[in-house]
Amino acid sequence: MTIVGIGIRNVWRNKTRALLTVLGGSVAIIAFVLLRTVLWAWNIGVEYAAKDRLATRHRVSMIMPLPKRYVEIVRETPGITQTTWANWFGGKDPKHPDEFFATMAVDPDTFFDVYTEMSIPPDQKAAWRADRRGAIVGDVLARKLGVKPGDKYTLQGTIFPGDWEFTIDGIYLATAKSVDRSQFIFHWSLLNETLPERQRDLVGWIISRTDNPSRSADLSASIDKVFDEKDVQTTTMSERAMNNSFMAMFSAILTALDFVSIIILLIMMLILGNTIAMGVRERTREYGVLRALGFSPGHVRTFVMGEALTVSVLAGVVGVGLAYPIVQLGMGRWIEENLGGFFPYFRMSPGTAAVGVLLSIALGTVSAIIPAIQASKLTIVDSLRRVG
């Protein structure tokens, strides 16, 4: 028997209230964990971005193309080891036009040399390179579309209108969390040949790998310097920096999510604080008895804090325990399949789980401070007079 142990037992004197409080706290923690997972998953592209990969785009906007001849110039830059390019295609599944997945025209000879974290069997890669109307899809998208190698699949073009029929030549897997497993890629040359003369030989962006990631900034500057005097200027940055600038476009949403998660925690603190305050009020007379027996105001504070800690630890553990299957087995899988472009890897990180439990404990402790101080400040005689 310990002082904290008695505080813990006190929690269960009103089982219904204790359970409802734990449940209320758990729901708040689940909401918090889900929001933090959204933020974490959103940032994962930055966190796991290859450090040795550079992206070169039009200086004005990402949606403006670059001349294809720039690819060779970038490739010849000292320090660059691999180079490829891509165009955004904007294709849709004609049967499900509302569902989004990335469709890109890429260079089949160099694409997988630059994106080494996308793994594809060598025979499928060779088949695709030889097939001008071939396409490669991610494993998540293949499952969603119900396609396998050898199947025919028609994309509906939005930027480049018309029906585009492809043969699925292969399925890639991801070896890194940042890889979108719902991409659809096909030959850039196929797209280029179908375009009017004035739109040909343009690329959306150029991706290269460097031999020294620590020199990424210098290399980016030297690439851009080459094009400074040309008709189209470029902006080159590391993949991480580019992802960061992409994220900055959504900063208002991310800030709002941060704000909402803080509000949720404040609500949880009020729930816990209210329960603890009610418990203290009911037990004032007992605290008076303890003081009469020789316990100090500090002991009374420990009793109150023991109760608060019990409730908050339970709320944290139950909340994270329930959030885990929700994210890992339900929501995460659905989001990866349907919103893979934004959230290629939507899972609860151990860090988020730990923060959920620790914040619950911290908030429980903070919420109990005022009731604990009030309980310890009551005089013994006043406490003993109080009818519980």
Partner: protein
């Protein structure tokens, strides 16, 4: 200003409330206790002089509002005097800080309440063990002492029962065991039989008599019940804050 008659009465009262064998365990000198209700002063105790002998069993009687419980609280170190001095078990309570006063209560005083005031989440044995949490005793030693105290009050077969599983008389006996487990110098009891039927009240009074007789505990008991007061060796009366 006191009239000469009041002064004479108080002097006579003081003489009567002095120790008889010269070894007092409680010595109060000119103790007053004042409470404030807004701007109104309530003088609950007024110039109390009292000596209680070590080993005595005293009953303190008086009408409601006469200051009995307040006096008991001052002697037990639960409250502080407004003026005067209070010495209990060779400690001047008026000079002790809050922390030392808490130690004094833990080591010197055993308190028995009218409403038992047991912790409902603890068993009888754990309730008795509660004051021992403030000592450096091991868990095993605490348990052993708690069981001994429960044996003294005749509840060795109810040690693992919760208060809700005990009768009122049994709860009060657990409270007495809790009061004696620290081997206090003085036991103060505030209406210990007030919530009990006659039979249970007699059992509790027998127990208090035994603690006084066999274990030499000094007992100061506040009571409304003349039959209970009869069990004490000394009866005192308090009226309007003055010992009469």
């Amino acid at each position: 200003m006191d009239t000469s008659t009041e002064k004479a009465d108080r002097a006579a009262s003081n003489e009567k409330n002095k120790s008889t064998n010269g070894k007092p365990i409680v010595e109060l000198r000119g103790v007053t206790k004042v409470f404030w209700r807004g701007k109104e002063e309530l003088r609950v105790l007024d110039g109390i002089n009292l000596e209680i002998d070590e080993g005595s069993f005293e009953a303190l009687m008086g009408p409601s509002g006469s200051g009995k419980s307040t006096l008991l609280n001052l002697i037990a170190g639960l409250d502080r005097v407004s003026s005067g001095t209070a010495r209990v078990a060779n400690r001047d309570l008026t000079t002790l800080g809050d922390s030392d006063l808490a130690k004094f209560r833990a080591q010197t005083v055993g308190f028995i309440f009218q409403a038992y005031n047991l912790m409902p989440v603890l068993t009888a044995r754990e309730n008795v063990e509660l004051p021992l949490l403030l000592t450096k005793l091991s868990g095993a030693e605490r348990k052993k002492r708690a069981l001994t105290a429960l044996r003294v009050v005749g509840l060795e077969d109810r040690t693992e029962h919760y208060p809700r599983q005990l009768s009122g008389g049994q709860e009060q006996r657990v409270a007495i065991a809790r009061a004696i487990v620290n081997d206090p110098t003085i036991i103060v009891a505030d209406e210990p039989t007030g919530d009990l039927d006659r039979k249970s009240a007699d059992d509790i009074l027998n127990l208090l008599e035994r603690l006084n007789r066999d274990f030499k505990k000094t007992i100061l008991m506040v009571t409304h019940d003349p039959a209970a007061a009869e069990r004490a060796t000394v009866q005192r009366r308090l009226d309007k804050g003055v010992l009469v």
